[in-house]
Amino acid sequence: MSEPFERGPFLLARADAFITWAQKNSLWPFGSGLACCAIEMIATAAARYDIARFGMELFRASPRQADLFIVAGTVTNKMAPVLRRLWDQMPDPKWALAMGNCAIGGGPFPTYSVLQGVDRIIPVDVYVAGCPPTPQGLIHGLMTLQEKIARSRPTKEILDPHARRQS
């Protein structure tokens, strides 16, 4: 987020604030558990940590209805095209969170079958390191993502003529 904060029209700024408020408070994650981190992701949704407080407990099984792609676990080369497709299948606006060291950079597995970082196939917004990250660590990551969303400018993207239907 290095670009300077442009001063848009007042109305758009208010609209941005409103839209991002809704987006950040209703991040429905796509329940894609890959490995160990998935268990901590579920623990985050369980009673002790309860991400439902942030309105994020609706783990959608279908990518069509999800906003947030939590890549929780090791991404193998065999799984990579699948993840890429699932990411594609999510509707905009969408965010990705790489959870755990394996998803971030291959973690302890510099081997022939492990993708060394999920950012090679999908654009990652927030990295949450750990092996696996604790539930509180994940919540911290999610709140960082919320802050990032709050700083985004959705109206710009909506009004952008170049973003219109391409095919």
Binding site: R53, Q136, H140
Partner: protein, 160 residues
């Protein structure tokens, strides 16, 4: 007779009513949720959070660049180069790169360290928005707490 009782039990939905009673009781029972940002469940004393380098009471670095941790590490997290300054008693790390994204938090480096220079911190908030923030250089290994958070978030300061 037993069959009749079973039938009656089934007809009056006894099993389902019992289940409903359990959920209703839990509805009124105490909640276990720790509301994270406001209340933090403090990590245990032995918690294996982010490893970092410590200094002694005088502020002198404890690390003597013996590279034992580098050798003990199974995932090649470390890249250490040491140098002995003129007249100094011990070597000091010139370069101490540590890759967070390879670490398994197994604790071998902490166990082998002869001077207890590298230790686990209770820091569990390991979030970054850029991947390069996950490579720690020597000076960053000395940071802790909120300072560290600023570093980890790769320049994405909290919005006040």
């Amino acid at each position: 007779m037993r069959r009749l009782r079973r039938f009656l039990k089934s007809f009056f939905l006894v099993d389902i009513l019992r289940g409903l009673a359990v959920t209703l009781r839990l509805y009124f029972s105490r909640k276990v949720t720790v509301e994270y940002p406001e209340k933090v469940q403090e990590p245990a004393p032995r918690f294996r959070g982010l490893p970092r380098l410590y200094r002694d009471e005088k502020g002198e670095p404890l690390c003597i660049a013996c590279k034992l941790c580098q050798r003990a590490c199974g995932t090649n997290c470390f890249d250490i180069e040491g140098k002995r300054k003129e007249g100094a008693k011990f070597m000091r790390p010139e370069k101490f790169d540590w890759k967070l994204d390879r670490c398994t938090f197994c604790g071998f480096c902490v166990e082998v360290c002869p001077t207890s220079a590298i230790r686990f911190s209770p820091e569990f908030r390991l979030t970054g928005v850029r991947k390069d923030g996950l490579l720690f250089h020597r000076d960053q290994m000395y940071l802790l707490g909120d300072d560290l958070q600023d570093h980890l978030c790769g320049g994405c300061r909290r919005v006040p």
